[in-house]
């Protein structure tokens, strides 16, 4: 387990910016979860995994492209997505990133470089080498790399290995980021694979790998930065396993009756936002007051986002058959 050596070297504004992003993600997700009772379609939230998204995105550039999956809100928000357009998408309205056609499960935002999101577990892994191949063959922005986010469950799908092998064999500029949140829908990781399986599997493919505390945004950033700059310099793939925890159910609403309370408590102790706050408070970079202000601004942002989404019209019936073909 790679634990961050970070102490005070980071510029203040970056850490605070990360905290703000993580708070935004959490607030957005909790808002959506609370909206369940009001008939909003179910979603897979990334509560507890905010440091993974924020830490990796901070290591990436605008020219880089990202693939993600069903649990994508954190990735999108960390990449700068508008909460209003995200909410509109979840609600199926025309101002959503996909015009309401996607709903929450496969949101792409090409303008942000978040492309080809698939909710088929492993779908993102199947397409990522192709995006990286296009990059390598001169189709992306110069110097760009490709990052694919996926879960520990996806690592059980054969496509995981096929993608790793192809990326290694074809020397693709591709960063594999496995957010190991211990859960695969309603099944615990330890019921489907040996302990430490993911990193052992990845290592078997002969690429450089790292396992990182996914609840420490600085650790994630540091490891991702190393991997990204290595990929930029030699165009070879890298693999990161971010150890984290899915704090809420698989898909809202979910009573988590099947979740071991001790394990959950253990991970709640290690909550990434709580830890970052503590660190920043300790270091004097943050005060309780500035934290409250930050939260209040975010709450207002989410309220505005909801108002935006509510005001967005439903798509026209003609959309049913628009965009079937290019």
């Amino acid at each position: 387990m790679h634990t961050s050596q970070y102490q005070m070297a980071e510029p203040t504004d970056k850490s605070l910016q990360w905290l703000e992003q993580m708070q935004l993600i959490r607030t957005y997700e909790l808002h959506l979860a609370a909206m369940q009772s009001k008939g909003v379609p179910g979603t897979c939230t990334s509560v507890g995994q905010e440091a993974c998204a924020v830490g990796v995105m901070a290591a990436l550039d605008k020219r880089d492209r990202i693939l993600t999956n069903h649990r994508s809100a954190a990735h999108l928000l960390a990449r700068g997505a508008s909460p209003g357009r995200l909410l509109a998408e979840v609600l199926g309205r025309i101002d959503g990133y996909c015009g309401g056609f996607s709903g929450s499960l496969h949101i792409s935002a090409k303008e942000l470089g978040v492309i080809l999101t698939s909710t088929i577990v492993g779908g993102e892994l199947s397409m990522a080498p192709g995006v990286a191949l296009a990059q390598k063959m001169g189709q992306g922005e110069a110097g760009g790399i490709v990052t694919v986010f996926f879960g520990d469950g996806a690592a059980c799908e054969g496509i995981f290995h096929e993608a790793l092998n192809l990326a290694v064999q074809w020397q693709l500029p591709l960063l594999f980021v496995c957010e190991n949140n211990q859960w695969q829908a309603f099944v615990h990781r330890l019921e489907t694979m040996p302990d430490n399986a993911i990193i052992n599997w990845a290592r078997g493919h002969g690429l450089m790998v790292d396992t990182v505390d996914g609840n420490d945004v600085h650790a994630v950033f540091e490891s991702a930065t190393q991997a990204v700059s290595a990929i930029r310099s030699d165009s070879m793939p890298r693999f990161l396993e971010l150890c984290t925890y899915r704090q809420r159910g698989h898909f809202e609403p979910d009573d988590q009756a099947y979740v071991d309370r001790q394990e959950l408590a253990h991970w709640l102790e290690r909550d990434p936002i709580k830890r970052l706050c503590q660190r920043l408070l300790q270091q004097g970079m943050l005060t309780q007051q500035s934290l409250n202000n930050m939260q209040q601004a975010i709450d207002e942002q989410i309220q505005a986002a909801q108002a935006f989404a509510d005001a967005s019209p439903w798509p026209d019936a003609a959309m049913l058959t628009r965009h079937v073909y290019a």
């Binding site: 709903g103 799908e157 309603f186 019921e191 099947y258």
Partner: protein, 330 residues
């Protein structure tokens, strides 16, 4: 009789068959988490959570079926079957014939599909016709809790690979279900849900109820529609469909899946071949578009066959005055 949902009927059927025959096992991503009563009754050896690896889960079921077990696998949503195609199509569907009849594959695959949950086109994709097109498989898509129970039990006792699709919109719908642990609905037998004389509406799954509603409203306009619920898409109950069309002279086929090469096309072709002389009007299809199912609630609503669409098709048919060429010739 007992009131229960489709979901409950499915698990009652499974539990009864697991009780009856200890070769029946259940596998799926989360089945042992969500169906605790099955785990309690039959243990973790027979009720297995699986890794996220649909290809090997389906393949394992095929191998186990050929080797004396009778697996039931829960593949969750129909589009996830895309990972299980080799196991289901190339192995379960073909290896009996390829081997000259050496193996049997008593294997049931469960999958959900259909509109109603706003989950979008990678969870909601009605794939039943694609499987009807494949050799060696049987395909069920029932509409009532009782049929789910009776057909699933028959499927588990059948010695062939059977796919049972659950229309998402029906999962929590309620109905009376016989308590009988030997309550079997035969495969390949359609149900006539309403008797009529003017037009035959053939459907299955969620849209059967829509046809029944349409029939009620058509009756108010003096048009008596017969409503057939196929239940089992393969083997197809040709007899019931043909008998009805021979009586009514008109056929409207209704389903949520895309029309192109779908079940409605098959029914239309069947009737064109075998009951052409009975037809008083063009066979009509009321189906989903040749497009990806949307997530947006509003689009989901307008994308599926409605009472209005069905009534429109029937009224058009009844109004048709053009004489077919066969008339002009004679």
């Amino acid at each position: 009789m007992e009131m229960m949902t489709v979901e409950q009927a499915i698990y009652q059927a499974l539990a009864e068959e697991m009780q009856r025959d200890n070769r029946v096992i259940a596998m799926g991503e989360g089945i042992a988490t969500k169906q605790l009563q099955l785990v309690e009754a039959f243990g973790k050896e027979r009720v297995r959570n699986t890794p996220l690896a649909e290809a090997v889960v389906a393949g394992t079921a095929v191998g186990a079926a050929a080797s004396g077990l009778r697996p039931v696998i829960d593949m969750l949503f129909a589009p996830f079957l895309s990972y299980a195609m080799d196991a289901l199509v190339n192995s379960a569907g073909k290896l009996r014939q390829i081997s000259g009849g050496q193996f049997e594959f008593p294997l049931v695959t469960l999958a959900m599909t259909g509109s109603g949950w706003c989950v979008g086109g990678q969870h909601n994709h009605n794939l039943e016709a694609a499987f009807v097109h494949m050799p060696g498989l049987k395909v069920l898509m029932p509409s009532t809790p009782a049929d789910f129970k009776g057909l699933l039990k028959s499927a588990i006792r059948d010695n062939n690979p059977v796919l049972l699709f659950t229309d998402l919109g029906l999962l929590h719908s309620q109905g009376e279900v016989p308590r009988d642990t030997d309550y079997l609905v035969p495969l390949a037998k359609a149900a006539i849900r309403r008797i009529g004389t003017d037009v035959t509406l053939v459907s299955y799954a969620k849209t059967v109820a829509v046809c029944e509603l349409a029939a009620t409203q058509l009756a108010e306009q003096g048009i008596e529609a017969e409503v057939i619920d196929l239940r089992c898409l393969k083997p197809l109950d040709e007899t019931t469909v043909l008998a009805s069309v021979r009586k009514t002279g008109r056929l409207v086929c209704v389903h949520e899946a895309s029309g192109l090469c779908g079940m409605a096309a098959e029914l239309s072709a069947l009737v064109a071949e075998k009951a052409f002389e009975s037809l008083r009007a063009p066979v009509m299809r009321v189906t989903g578009a040749d497009a990806t199912p949307p997530a947006s609630w509003m689009l989901e609503q307008v994308g599926v066959p409605s009472v209005q669409n069905i009534m429109g098709a029937v009224i058009d048919q009844v109004a048709i005055k053009t004489m077919p060429a066969a008339y002009r010739l004679s």
